[in-house]
């Protein structure tokens, strides 16, 4: 057993017919990390998560949760893993509390779990819906029950597969704060998402998958630092024809009021100054300056495009 690792993924392959859904994926997740798994649709994120949960049987390679192999030690591995599936799945025969109680039961938990279920109902703001049938809940409430089901056996590792897909802004914020709280309580969180804003807001370390391959694995900061550049936008009223040749090719658009010049810059502070010096030397009158930082989306687009 490897200490300190929440999840180990070693050279995992999975094919579905001609599609190589997971092509030699290999990385680890430390205990206590907030880990993001990103990638476009069909990248293999859900396949990887399902392999971890035992819902997908891999062709080769090894996966383990808290040091327990998901195949040979599946009972230990599964009891340490909580999974929030992507789809709003529920059993229409049962009420909210029953759903949680049965789920805890499948993990062999007896009466001792009941106070925790009450706590979960409170935490998830479902206490007044405890006796309501799953069918009658709104989408947001069903999503919270799914989270409850994933947490009911107190797993150290929680995997959330696109938890905020199709969720309104308010609920997304609520879910984010709930997930942050779980993380600060000591859970290792693995989040898949294709909302880059979400990964940027929450995750410490990020893996990017594309077509079954790992195209990037880094801390959020380092991944952002890989970004192409910052972009400097300068507005001026000078007529385009008076601009020196070094600036003329920077004209991005011309409106009735101004001309916009754009400069792609490196990360160093001095490069902004260099541009401004050039502008001043050319005697160009500046009416507005704006600096745009690349976000994760630019990095993501760049990385997944490179891989193509």
């Amino acid at each position: 057993m490897k200490n300190g690792l929440a999840v180990t993924i070693e050279n995992v392959h999975k094919r579905f017919g001609a599609v190589h859904a997971l092509n030699g994926i290999d990385f680890t997740i430390q205990q206590g990390e907030f880990f993001g798994l990103l990638g476009p649709n069909g990248a293999g994120k859900s396949t990887l998560i399902n392999a971890l949960a035992g819902l997908v049987v891999t062709d080769s390679g090894h996966l383990s949760v808290m040091g327990f192999d998901v195949r040979t030690q599946y009972r230990d591995a599964r009891s340490r893993l909580g999974v929030v599936p992507q789809e709003l799945v529920y059993d229409p025969f049962f009420e909210v509390r029953e759903t949680l109680r049965f789920q805890a039961g499948y993990f062999g938990l007896g009466r001792e779990v009941e106070p925790w279920i009450e706590e979960l109902l409170d935490e998830l703001d479902l206490a007044d819906k405890a006796e309501t049938n799953m069918r009658s809940l709104s989408g947001g409430m069903k999503r919270r029950v799914l989270i409850g089901q994933a947490l009911v056996h107190k797993p150290p590792v929680v995997v959330l597969d696109e938890p905020t897909a199709g969720v309104d802004v308010e609920l997304r914020r609520q879910l984010w704060s709930l997930i942050k709280r779980l993380h600060s309580d000591g859970h290792t969180i693995v989040l898949t998402t294709h909302y880059l804003e979400e990964a940027e807001e929450l995750c410490d370390r990020i893996a990017i998958l594309n077509r079954g391959e790992l195209v990037a694995l880094d801390t959020k900061e380092d991944l952002l630092a890989r970004g192409i550049s910052r972009t400097l936008h300068i507005h001026t009223r000078e007529p385009a024809r008076t601009l020196p040749p070094s600036l003329a090719d920077k004209v991005k658009c011309i409106t009735d009021d101004y001309i916009e010049l754009t400069f792609n810059l490196g990360r160093e502070e001095s490069s902004v100054m260099q541009v401004l010096d050039t502008i001043r030397d050319a005697g160009v009158n500046v009416i507005d300056i704006r600096v745009e930082e690349d976000d994760l989306e630019d990095v993501f687009v760049q990385l997944t495009r490179e891989a193509d």
Binding site: G54, R78, L81, Y90, F93, E98, Q103, G105, Y106, G108
Partner: protein, 251 residues
């Protein structure tokens, strides 16, 4: 309490919540058969010496319901969970494929026995049914509901849609259970149909079960018992192999 017991308990709670449909309805259907057929045929047909047609009919109707409900319980629960997707919540737990099998089959047995006992109790109001051997009665009821519980798991895993499941039920389970000697002794059939009936496994369930009431049967009780035990062994093994492989459940 172990996970397998909770899965079993969940299955019981599931069908109890719709007991009107899962327990009451089959009891009423069987009673309608009993009333109508006995009214029309009583006194005209004698199958076994000293056994009235209405008496003869009771064990067959009970067994037919045990068969149909044993199948319906595991198959309908599993296909619903599979199609709606909530089965993942069972598949991601430490419950093993063997425990999964045990929980679903045990729930089928409970529902089969409840429906069977219900029909017997109500039938006893209308007609006196002798009991030759309670052990034989219970043994065959257990065997039949377990066999059909296993078959229900196979059908639900195989079917991708509700209509495929319905086809399995309507074109295999229903005809085989109706044509298994519920309403007649196979000795009253032309020889071709007699021979054909001997290939119907449900015939042995009903014949052995009926022996438990009257002490007489179409084929020796040891034959029925052996065939039911073989069927249970084969179907259980097949179900376990399918569950172990993860066929259509785990990608």
């Amino acid at each position: 309490m172990a996970g397998v017991l909770w899965l079993f308990w969940k299955e019981l709670v599931r069908f109890s919540k719709v007991a009107f449909q899962t327990v009451m309805a089959p009891i009423i259907t069987s009673l309608l058969f009993l009333v109508v057929f006995s009214h029309v045929l009583e006194g005209r047909v004698t199958v076994y010496e000293g056994v009235s047609y209405t008496e003869f009919l009771v064990p067959g109707l009970i067994m037919m319901s045990v068969i149909q409900n044993g199948f319906a319980n595991s198959s309908s629960s599993l296909i619903q969970s599979k199609i709606t997707g909530n089965l993942v919540f069972v598949l991601i737990t430490p419950i093993s494929y063997f425990e999964f099998f045990v929980a679903y089959v045990a729930a089928s047995i409970v529902r089969g026995l409840m429906v069977g006992a219900g029909i017997l109790l109500v039938a006893l109001i209308l007609v006196d049914v002798p009991v030759h051997s309670l052990t034989v009665i219970v043994t065959f009821a257990l065997l039949a509901s377990a066999i059909l519980g296993a078959l229900g798991i196979i059908a639900a895993i195989w079917a991708d849609r509700y209509d495929q499941m319905a086809a399995f039920q309507n074109f295999i389970i229903m005809p085989l259970s109706f044509l298994s000697g519920v309403f007649y002794s196979i000795h009253s059939l032309p020889s071709f149909w007699q021979t054909l009936s001997q290939f119907n496994p449900f015939f042995y369930m009903i014949d052995g079960f009926r022996y438990g009431f009257f002490g007489v049967s179409d084929v020796p009780i040891t034959t029925s018992l052996s065939i039911c035990l073989i069927a249970l062994t084969l179907l259980s093994s097949l179900t376990l192999v399918i569950l172990k492989s993860g066929y259509k459940l785990r990608a």
